[in-house]
Amino acid sequence: MSKIDEIINGVLAGNRRKIAKAITIAESSPEEAKNLIASIYPHTGKAQIIGLTGPGGAGKSTLIEKMVREYRRRGKTVGVIAVDPTSPFTGGAFLGDRIRMQELSTDEGVFIRSMATRNNPGGIAKATKDAVKILDAAGKDVIIVETVGAGQSEVEIIKVAQTIIVIHAPGLGDEIQAIKAGIMEIADIFVVNKADRENADKAVMDIQAMLQLDNKEKPWTPPIIKTVALTGEGVPKLIEKIEEHWQFLKKELLHKRSLEKAEAELIEAIKEKVTSSIIEKLKREKRFEKVLQQIVEREIDPASAAEKLLNQELE
């Protein structure tokens, strides 16, 4: 068996070493990654994918640790991908998100991977999407992606998620500006973390004020959840909201599918009705027979004949 086949089989069997190797391929060998993803793709699409973004220091990694514990309590396996920026000057990166998740490392039902952006926004978005697919194919029930919500590239990364959580915390200064610029619109759920701090309610109000500026009618209104990631307070409620959003998406999708199905059926029915009524009328008026004769005698071709008849009919 070739090395890549071994990795593919390993991923599908949930082998942790092979999952890790596969993610390295996704990060560093685009050509190999293409084959790898093509092979595992039929086994993807089962995981629930959650994106968590917000300014550095808001408590994303700490919150993820508590979310993972809650999902584990509910019997789910979890994958975590924590993305941090690469230094634009040296190409190196300090990946410290695991500091907050130490104890999860030895849980067989959890797989955590740190990724650097590698100064290639499009590339990291691709590599992160591939890493999500790898964890999905490996059978993880829930996959959480953490990014620093700063720029457009992070917005691109987080779009791999079905449910996007934008997190903020009091005491981060003007960072609410960063939330306004671009990531406000993509939030399905807002979290105000560090609710143990006194200015938490002010942060909630700021977000509410911004949401009110946007008065478009929407089928889903993003809720604002207060959490204390250090203690886990608010986390079960957050998970409930994620579940609600998941159900909402499913209903939306079902609704969209039934609309599409109804449309196809309606078009079919109209076609049948229109065709038979026009043909009947043409036959009644003997024009149908006449044109048939002309076609047989090569005076006119069938397509032109149809057009002529219909033009008269639809005038």
């Binding site: 890790a20 560093s28 060998s29 040296t90 190196g92 300090f94 130490q102 030895t106 991977r113």
Partner: protein, 135 residues
């Protein structure tokens, strides 16, 4: 190294040390040399260190220890690495490790031991040279 591949390093602190200044200095220096450094904080068990190395698919592990528990903890780490098949990972150590313990550590597979105050350039050079040899 092929162009798309970055050197990934885990800087880990096994045992009960109460600060990690030295480890962080090394971590930052390796980052500034263009590597991706996974840092996991204080008080790691051997199991946590090896699982982290496995999930992060690192090329190098740097173990930093001040407490004097290296002879108790390092053999366990090396044994777990072997059990999990991570035999191609380069492992070095740093911190406070007496001269006379170094042969024992090298015997169990720790490739190099850096004493306190080793210039970070030396560690960078060591890692880069060893990674070069691989390819």
């Amino acid at each position: 190294m092929q162009s798309g591949k970055k050197i990934r390093v885990l800087i880990a602190k096994p045992g009960l040390d109460s600060h990690d200044r030295g480890a962080k200095i090394v971590a930052r220096a390796l980052r500034d040399a263009g590597m991706e450094v996974i840092y996991t904080g204080l008080r790691q068990t051997p199991e946590q260190i090896v699982e982290t190395a496995l999930q992060e698919d690192v090329d190098v592990i740097g173990l930093s220890i001040l407490s004097g528990a290296h002879l108790a903890l390092f053999p366990r780490i090396m044994e777990l690495l072997r059990q999990k098949g991570l035999t191609d990972v380069l492992v070095f150590a740093g911190g406070i490790i007496p001269e006379e313990d170094i042969p024992e550590l090298k015997k169990i597979g720790i490739k190099e031991v850096f004493g306190p105050g080793t210039p970070t350039e030396m560690i960078i050079k060591y890692v880069l040279e060893n990674m070069q040899k691989r390819t």
